[in-house]
């Protein structure tokens, strides 16, 4: 071929020049653990299901969520959402309203009739779950999906545990509870109500391959309070239980609730609903030290519940309660200051915590009891082979979420144990901390939009009926997620590489072309979600 003057070589593309050889560090895509996922006691992949939800794929979002928690419509109402407390977006403007999106998905599932899909082959193993509260239901759900035959025995007339007999219906409508429980029984789980298990050991001997004790803590603690003969004193769990059964106790017009937990507030709010025109919560410490959550206190106060801090009850008798005032010492412990006051009260409700009814493990070989709760190992197994326990009956935080998490863990441990193995926890990825995010790329909402959003969000708390608004708000909330530590297909890495060394491989997936990646690190710095790490190149 004849060439122009002074040209001796054919034109070639620079693609022949593999500049990747300059690299001293290489980018790698990573999955970090988002703080929401990290904080969720049920182990939900929050960021993951929000990602599905953002695209409006509500069913796949719900399926993704229910890999870990079978009760989203319930938890979307009653969970204290530690996920939101941990949410990175809080450092930017306000935490993502994860819980409200969860409720939205749960409600969608109920209204659309979505059911769980079970594809595991029957294992031939039988598991007994004692108790149908959140931990029992969660365990049953996971065990059923693993192919085991599950029976739940429940001493009460109906299933649900504290979700039915403790948490009042104004926070958790019973049709929601029923809907989510029946979805679990549709998996073939049998729930035998009015069927108290008297002995865990005999259950094991009855032919169950494993037993999970999910018996909760139902005995109201009775602190010693000097009281006259005609004092009307009852405990909160019994009072809530009777109310839930449609047979509420007579409380009178003035009710005093003694205690500072969420149960105390539920009791006081329930008393108001039962007709008490005065419901006073008496608590020995102050607001800051009160274990009850802010939301609950605020809602209670909004409903007219009166809070009386730094007070203990020293005497109860016919229509009168004597309280002694307290102060907090340097360590925050309350101590009496010797001042008394008399309040009028038709009844006193004690909300001082609950004990576990341990009679079914009385004398059971290998089962250790400490501090009134059943002792378990990291796999939730008691000292007795095949006997597991979880939820309120074992050490740990007494919340429904935690109980659901226990149910999942127990199911995994039982499943492994039934196969003669030990469950191995997947290694926990490093946390997706706020400082790894490049928040520049997340737009902040202009004030006008924020205001509108706030009011919309507030409104949904009360207006479950406004379906259209709900969907828009839920989608909006889901889309506020920063996708901490996980790629969300924003194409930033693909765009910002000066060497075109990022390749798209199908929907939302990328790959580095190491032939040309010079390792400059721009992609890692500009990744909004912190999903790229730079690693030293091995020479």
């Amino acid at each position: 071929m004849s060439k122009p003057f002074a040209i001796t070589l054919d034109v070639g593309s620079s693609l022949a020049n593999h500049t990747g050889s300059w690299r001293t560090e290489r980018p790698v895509y990573v999955h970090r653990l988002p703080p929401c996922n990290d904080a969720c006691p049920a182990g939900e992949d929050v960021q993951g299901w929000l990602y599905d939800g953002e695209a409006g794929n509500y069913e796949s979002a719900w399926r993704h969520l229910t890999r870990d928690n079978p009760l989203p419509a319930i938890m979307g109402r009653i969970c204290y959402h530690p996920c939101q407390t941990a949410c990175n977006r809080d450092e930017l403007d306000e935490a993502v309203g994860i819980n409200s999106v969860e409720r939205f998905l749960g409600d969608q599932a109920i209204s659309q009739g979505w059911q769980f899909i079970k594809d595991a082959a029957p294992s031939g193993k039988k598991v007994l779950v004692v108790g149908s509260g959140p931990s029992g239901l969660s365990a049953a759900f996971h065990l059923a999906l693993q192919g085991h035959e599950v029976t739940i025995r429940e001493s009460a007339a109906e299933s649900g545990g504290m979700m039915r007999y403790g948490i009042p219906a104004y926070r958790l409508p019973r049709d929601v509870l029923d809907a989510e429980i029946s979805r679990i029984t549709n998996l073939g789980v049998t729930i035998e109500c009015n069927s108290k298990v008297e002995s865990a050991e005999s259950a094991l001997e009855e032919g169950f391959n494993a037993v999970f004790l999910a018996i909760g803590a139902h005995i109201g603690k009775r602190a010693y309070i000097p009281a006259g003969d005609s004092a009307h004193v009852l405990d909160a769990v019994s009072m809530l239980h009777m109310t839930a059964e449609g047979d509420p106790p007579l409380l009178g017009r003035r009710v005093i609730v003694y205690g500072g937990g969420n149960t105390a507030l539920d009791a006081a709010r329930t008393a108001r609903r039962l007709g008490a025109n005065e419901a006073v919560v008496v608590y020995r410490r102050n607001r800051e030290k009160m274990p009850a959550h802010d939301i609950e206190v605020n809602e209670a106060v909004d409903e007219g519940v009166i809070m009386r801090w730094l007070s203990t009850i020293s005497w109860v008798d016919d229509g009168l309660v004597t309280v002694e005032k307290m102060e907090l010492d340097e360590k925050g412990f309350p101590r009496p200051i010797g001042e008394f006051e008399t309040l009028e009260a038709d009844s006193v409700i004690l909300a001082l915590g609950q004990d576990v009814d341990l009679s079914l493990v009385d004398g059971a070989e290998g089962v250790a009891i400490d501090d009134g709760v059943i002792q378990v190992d990291n796999f939730l197994m008691t000292g007795r082979d095949g006997l597991f326990a979880g939820g309120d009956a074992v050490p740990g935080e007494r919340t429904a979420t935690n109980a659901i998490g226990h149910g999942k863990q127990a199911a995994r441990a039982i499943d492994a144990w039934l196969r003669g193995e030990k469950f191995v926890h997947a290694p926990r990825p490093a946390l997706a901390t706020f400082d790894r995010l490049n928040t520049w790329y997340y737009s902040d909402a202009p004030k006008t939009v924020r205001a509108k959003l706030d009011s919309v969000r507030r409104a949904t708390n009360f207006a479950e009926v406004v379906q259209g608004l709900d969907e828009e708000t839920a989608l909006f909330e889901a889309r506020r997620c920063l996708s901490c530590g996980n790629c969300f297909s924003c194409d930033n890495c693909f765009g910002v590489c000066p060497d075109n060394a990022v390749v798209k491989i199908g929907e939302g997936n990328y790959e580095f072309n190491l032939d040309y990646c010079k390792g400059c690190g721009i992609c890692a710095v500009e990744c909004p979600s912190g999903a790229i790490d730079m690693e030293p190149e091995r020479s």
């Binding site: 040209i7 070589l9 054919d10 034109v11 070639g12 593309s13 620079s14 693609l15 022949a16 020049n17 593999h18 500049t19 300059w22 953002e54 695209a55 520049w440 790329y441 997340y442 737009s443 909402a445 202009p446 939009v449 828009e472 989608l475 909006f476 889309r479 506020r480 969300f488 297909s489 924003c490 194409d491 930033n492 693909f494 765009g495 910002v496 590489c497 000066p498 060497d499 075109n500 060394a501 798209k504 929907e507 939302g508 072309n513 032939d515 040309y516 010079k518 390792g519 400059c520 690190g521 721009i522 890692a524 710095v525 500009e526 909004p528 730079m534």
Partner: protein, 337 residues
């Protein structure tokens, strides 16, 4: 719902977004983008110029359906992309001399017009040295004649390809190989400056704009708009240079962002000699935040630093903010408290 998406999803700031309609995606988020400057070029790790050139030329290619010719001045962009006999360019591309890119481009446009091929468009491109200094005469002529060329200057604020010498676009106090960080006024002196976008506007040409590699959406929109206009157009793109600035290769985009967020590099658009749009600062920062990561400004900081020079640079930023109205009045007040 689409407006909400823009507010809350990162669509408006990140390169792409899986939830946006295909049609609204920028060129750089498409696998089908032209990659006009393809891989294997020899630009340094993290070169802002390589990135800016691909952003700009890919957008121009998209706007012209690939009917585009590029003329390049001498400089890094030319040298790293075309070591004989290789080329990284995937469009017809010419290089003649350091200072004559505007004149050559004018000639190419004239030749195409003479052949009745006015649908084929012409861009000229060069570094700041090639543009504000040595190529200034031909460029001014191109403006004055309103020749149908889009001229793009990739401003890395010095003659980088020959080893970092000061140009008319080098900022005050910057250390280069010809402005050493010694004496009472270390680095480049505080001159009158040579603001080429303003000079271009003074020619009254139809379109002048500034942009940076930190805002792809803005840059693409400006190139695409420029290609809808006939006549002389000028685009001035700030492209950080890790080698010449003494910055970390991974901070190229971050530095371009800080240049605009500090007010030192105003991003605006002008038509027929009048400013028609400015990009507001989103998160105002002090110039220090922009200068500190760059070794060319290292002498301003530390025990033997020069707070006076730092203040003088801050004053330049403040002047820009006032002149181009870069902050919304209320927010600017809040940030200065």
């Amino acid at each position: 719902m689409s407006t909400q998406l823009k507010f809350y999803q990162v669509g408006s700031f990140a390169v792409g977004n899986r939830l946006i309609d295909e049609a609204d995606l920028p060129e750089q988020s498409r696998s089908s983008r032209a990659n006009s400057l393809t891989s294997g070029h020899r630009a340094c790790q993290g070169c802002g110029e390589a990135l800016g050139a691909r952003y700009a030329i890919d957008a121009a290619m998209a706007a012209t359906n690939g009917k585009l010719v590029a003329v390049n001045a001498t400089g890094c962009l030319e040298v790293f992309s075309t070591p004989y006999p290789e080329t990284s360019w995937r469009l017809p591309w010419l290089h003649s001399l350091f200072g004559n890119a505007a004149a050559v481009a004018t000639g190419v446009a004239a030749a195409l017009r003479a052949q009745g091929k006015s649908d084929i468009r012409v861009v000229a491109q060069g570094g700041d040295g090639g543009t504000v200094d040595i190529g200034f005469g031909p460029l001014s002529g191109m403006f004055e004649r309103n020749d149908d060329v889009l001229y793009i200057c990739y401003d890395n604020e010095a003659y980088m390809n020959t080893g970092v010498q000061r140009s008319g676009a080098t900022p005050p106090a910057a250390r280069t190989n010809t402005t050493h960080a010694i004496g009472p006024n270390p680095g480049a002196s505080f001159t009158q400056g040579k603001n080429l976008p303003l000079i271009a506007m003074a020619h009254g040409i139809p379109y002048v704009a500034t942009a940076t590699v930190a805002d792809l959406h803005d840059l693409e929109a400006k190139v695409k708009k420029a290609m809808t206009i006939r006549g002389a157009r000028y685009l001035h793109v700030l492209v950080p240079c890790p080698l010449g600035w003494g910055s970390r290769s991974e901070e190229t985009i971050k530095l371009a962002r800080l240049a605009t967020e500090s007010g030192l590099f105003p991003v605006f658009e002008a038509e027929d000699g009048e400013v028609t749009a400015t990009k507001k600062i989103r998160r105002l920062v002090q110039v220090e935040e922009y200068l500190k990561p760059q070794k060319r400004f290292a002498h301003l900081f530390g025990a033997h630093g020069h707070p006076d020079l730092l203040n003088a640079i801050q004053a330049i930023a403040d002047r820009n903010i006032a002149k181009y109205k870069l902050c919304d009045p209320i927010e600017a007040e809040a940030d200065h408290e």
